[in-house]
């Protein structure tokens, strides 16, 4: 597990992946080990122990304040060569998708990008009459979301994958593991050549909206019709303590900002409740919200595709239904 950090904590996506790695490792009867690289990593390994990592490999150096491709590649490859893991997992983030291909190329092993699910399974190769057990099934959408492919890596190790943010559930153990730390000497691994690309400036915009972490999401589509109409959804979100999201069609039409887009090219969410207003439910949108525990669809079209994955279908105009939801929630809560 390559673990990303942001300032003082391990990135959410890495904790999601450690949680997943724990269940894969249980099935395979192997250990989960994390890699942490940075300048000052004091204490961050504890977060990994709390989510199920047994060993944490730490590489600290003052030159490693921010992520850089070359030194991270050298360090990750050195650790993987020494430890010979069966599986290597990265977040499918800007960092993970920059680093993992370079690592895979150097280790000459296969990598599957942007997985949405990982499983353990077997494989039989007819041509060579070989049976493989305990392979990592790397499952991902392909072809613009129109198909789902299961990729395997029968002969090379480690089996490498990047995994999308938000698709795995993060869960802390009841009692954190008493893990072990292993320190690596960066001076020895990453030479001057690894620092030829210089970071001159870095501007990080705090994410204003946090739809990924929201328990309830009120989402609107093209059917909402205008930016003004979206106010209905913001009002409902307000009373429910929810966040507002939207489809790409709504974003493209300018009804709502891009950072709220849900779906294949937006964020993936898995809230407790997803209220879809004026959303037809094309495959690229469903890919980002179908794991929601409960889905309510409000649509004038009783045959909208989203209705087939909804738990409740309210057939009607959202501008009439949403105010009623607000009214009856206010009346019945408390």
């Amino acid at each position: 597990m390559y673990c990303e950090t942001n300032g003082n904590s391990v990135a959410e996506v890495s904790l999601e992946l450690v949680t997943k790695a724990r269940s894969l490792a249980n099935q395979l009867k192997v250990q989960v080990e994390g890699i942490l690289i940075g300048n000052d990593l004091k204490g961050l390994e504890k977060q990994l122990y709390a989510h199920g990592a047994q060993v944490v490999h730490k590489a600290e150096d003052k030159r490693l304040e921010f992520y850089q491709t070359l030194p991270h590649t050298s360090i990750v490859c050195r650790i993987m060569e020494a430890e010979q893991p069966q599986i290597g997992i990265f977040g499918a983030t800007t960092v993970g998708r920059d680093l993992a291909p370079r690592v895979a190329s150097k280790l000459k092993s296969g990598l599957t990008a942007d997985c949405t699910s990982l499983e353990i399974g077997e494989h039989y190769e007819k041509k060579t009459d070989t049976k493989y057990e305990n392979l990592l099934y790397q499952i991902r959408p392909a072809f613009g979301g129109n198909i789902v492919a299961t990729i395997i890596n029968p002969d090379t190790r480690p089996q490498l994958a990047t995994v999308r943010e938000g698709v795995m559930k993060r869960e802390e153990l009841d009692t954190p593991l008493k893990g072990k730390t292993k320190n690596w000497n960066v001076e020895e691994i990453a030479g001057k050549d690894d620092f030829v690309v210089e970071i001159i400036d870095r501007q990080v915009e705090e994410k204003k909206v946090n739809i990924k972490g929201a328990q309830i999401i009120v989402a609107g589509g093209y059917g909402v019709g205008s930016r003004e109409n979206f106010e209905h959804l913001f009002k409902l979100a307000d009373v429910l303590g929810a966040e507002v999201g939207g489809t790409r069609a709504a974003v493209d039409a300018g009804y709502i900002d891009h950072d709220r887009q849900i779906g294949q090219t937006g964020v993936t969410v898995r809230p407790k409740l997803y209220i879809a207003c004026g959303i037809s439910g094309q495959i690229q949108h469903r890919a980002g919200m179908m794991e929601s525990s409960m889905i309510i669809s409000i649509n004038t079209d009783p045959n909208a595709p989203i209705n087939s994955i909804a738990d409740y279908v309210i057939t009607g105009d959202f501008s009439e239904v949403v105010p009623k939801l607000i009214k009856y929630y206010k009346k019945n809560s408390k």
Binding site: G110, L111, S308, T315
Partner: protein, 290 residues
């Protein structure tokens, strides 16, 4: 300042953004024939960055490199129309079935036969969405990479200053040459075709394409050598057969499924006040809301 040699990696891809009903075969595989073949969108952003470097450093040369079947020569003609100086089609039956590792090996080996200061790729191709080939080519060439490029801020004899997009912001980095860039879709769109170039290059062909051509055509080629698009195969680049195609590809596709969503039994409600109030009460009682 010394002029630069720039190689753009561009791929011809099926237009997965406009997938119609006949795009999927009954067995769940993709019917490539039903999809239009296009210039991978982010590779057009890459071409624009290369052409803008050429604007900044006059005398520089932009070459397009594409790996694919014979018809991918279309990509090279498109590059000529928009201002590229040269193009190479990397094509061989032995490349078939390559995953990103084998593809990047073939491309890097071909680049090794060419002169370059900068390699520019798109961030990702829309058929696979892997975004792996760029970084893997860089690793195989043993040169640094700068991914998600949005703009080239400054360029001098020894280095380039680049703005790159991050998940939540941006970064300005300075890199020496040679270097590989991958260009993000938020970078400027590619300039349009230049009418003069379309006239000049519309008859550009690879040798393979010429095989079926008439004699007049062959004569025209002798008069205008720039119309010949270079082709390279496994032997021309001196690649190791074992590292190509299926045998050079560690990843295998085990299963492909058409995306069919299982229909749930939904409870259908009307917009009637009473029904909506009942739903709200139910959701509050089972702690979904409130």
């Amino acid at each position: 300042m010394k002029s630069l040699k720039i190689i753009v990696l561009a791929k011809q891809v099926p237009d997965t953004r406009n997938v119609g009903k006949d795009a999927m075969k009954a067995d769940g595989t993709v019917n490539r024939a039903a999809l239009e073949a296009i210039f991978n969108p982010e590779d057009l952003n890459a071409l624009e960055q290369a052409l803008s470097i050429k604007d900044m450093v006059p005398g520089s040369e932009v070459s397009l490199l594409t790996m694919g079947p014979g018809r991918a020569a279309e990509i090279i003609r498109e590059g000529f129309y928009r201002g590229a100086d040269d193009g190479v089609l990397l094509t061989d039956r032995k490349f078939a079935g390559s995953d990103t590792l084998a593809t990047s090996y073939a491309i890097a080996t071909a680049i090794g036969k060419m002169e370059y200061d900068i390699v520019v790729a798109g961030r990702q191709a829309i058929d696979g969405d892997t975004a792996q080939v760029g970084p893997q080519v860089a690793e195989k060439l043993n040169i640094p990479q700068v991914t998600y490029v949005e703009n080239i801020e400054k360029i001098d004899a020894k280095s380039m200053t680049i703005r790159r997009r991050l998940d939540n912001g941006f970064e300005i980095v300075k890199t020496p040459f040679p270097v590989l860039l991958t260009v993000h879709s938020s970078a400027p769109d590619c300039r349009p075709r230049i009418a003069k170039n379309v006239m000049k290059y519309k008859h550009a062909r690879t040798l393979t394409e010429l095989q079926d051509a008439s004699e007049d055509y062959t004569r025209m080629f002798q008069d205008r050598p720039y119309l010949k698009i270079r082709e390279m195969g496994v032997d021309d680049i001196g690649a190791d057969n074992e590292a190509l195609g299926l045998s050079g590809s560690p990843t295998k596709v085990k299963k492909i499924e058409n995306v069919v969503f299982k229909a749930k039994e939904a409870k259908v409600i009307s917009a009637d006040d009473k029904e909506i109030e009942d739903l709200i009460v139910e959701l509050i009682e089972n702690h979904t809301i409130g």
